[in-house]
Symmetry: C2
Subunit: 233 residues, 2 copies
């Protein structure tokens, strides 16, 4: 994917991405860093290098000293929270309040997986990253919880349900990036007739394995939500 | 956890773990590296440092030069396959053939999650690591596929089902290691009454959130398997 897909404001030409021109026309050579620009640069770096990037590497990518970054973001941890907030802003929650809650959950989970399949290096980080400081993440949880509770879903099951969907989403996002050869059994010392039959039968459906697997799990979780809703009078 | 939990052969006292004594009594000062010993040392290193370890760091932990490791394992990638094989050997597949397939799947998924919750740094690696060269992984897939097909489960759904269970398992293994404060909404600019109610109601059940979330998802996937089995005559 191209970075611009996730960048609502494409970086202007002729300067380092993430560095915005100073607003005052009288100071043409000065560039200013912004948290949004630094976040966008961090996301691009993570796509290439993975989430183990250093602030030094990020500063290098932006053409500034690492100390300049610390004037705008609260260190690497604070920056990861900004990355989380940016990515969560791309998850589609528009179904909540406009569609049946089960339809809204499907759209939410599908787009959630798409966002993190494009940013798989962030998966192990976001999976354990506190939501504190990420307003879009908290708003997302509040919205999903609100509509599950309003639909009559048992309140005690709301968090387990949300987290179970997220676990499937995160696991599937990683699986989406697995190599085609992941199930290659060459060299195995024993025959694998059932595994071979299962792979052949799945391949014959024409649906990519990662999509079929996510769909299979998602439909079962959605059926579980449906079963937890009060039957309509 | 202690490393010995996953090491069937505890390292002997008085020498570096992973280095086994030479078998010939006449050469007391010589130690020999083995693939199993190197694998056990790699697992211990991953528990402490994460999966980004280098062969140099592993050699240092074993008190040998990196080149000595390459005489026994096919580089870092080959070593990760050995780690995968070792960890998969701890997943409980004993239910297949002795219990109903749904009961066997539950035991398999629960132990699978436990193993990777203890080795979460391996999750993003194993999730995309080819099974080639890991006989225990391939045998596990063959066994699960064999019993699903024998129970009358549609062959084309076997791989999607296995992978959906694994996605939930991997996502839940990461969630199990999330900090207690992951859902702390302090500083959020808006009230979150539904999210608060959902968290309170879940906490009141007394079940740890990560366990409740995994169980919720697992029961729904198991219900999906049950629904795919032919009804008994």
């Amino acid at each position: 994917m191209t970075p611009s897909k996730d960048s609502p404001r494409p970086a202007g030409a002729g300067r380092a991405p993430g560095v915005e021109p100073a607003r005052r026309a009288g100071r043409p050579t000065t560039a200013v860093l912004t948290p949004a620009g630094i976040t966008a640069a961090a996301i691009r770096l993570i796509e290439v290098q993975g989430a183990e990037f250093s602030m030094t590497a990020l500063g290098r990518a932006l053409g500034v000293a690492p100390s300049a970054l610390y004037n705008h973001v609260a260190g690497r941890d604070g920056l990861l929270t900004l990355v989380q907030d940016e990515l969560m802003g791309h998850v589609d929650v528009s179904g909540f309040g406009t569609s049946h809650v089960v339809v809204a959950l499907r759209r939410w989970a599908e787009s959630y997986r798409q966002v993190f399949a494009r940013h798989e290096a962030m998966v192990p980080i976001i999976a354990v990253l506190p939501v504190t400081g990420s307003p879009r993440t908290v708003d997302m949880y509040e919205l999903v919880a609100e509509h599950l509770i309003a639909a009559g879903f048992p309140a005690a099951d709301v968090m387990p349900t949300i987290v179970a969907f997220e676990s499937l989403v995160f696991g599937s996002a990683m699986d989406t990036n697995a190599p085609e050869t992941i199930f290659d059994t060459s060299g195995h010392p024993r025959p694998t007739p059932s595994f071979d039959e299962a792979r052949r039968a799945q391949a014959a459906t024409g649906t990519p394995s990662a999509d079929a697997s996510f769909d299979w799990g998602l439909e079962r979780l959605l059926a579980g939500v449906e079963a937890g809703l009060p039957s309509e009078a």
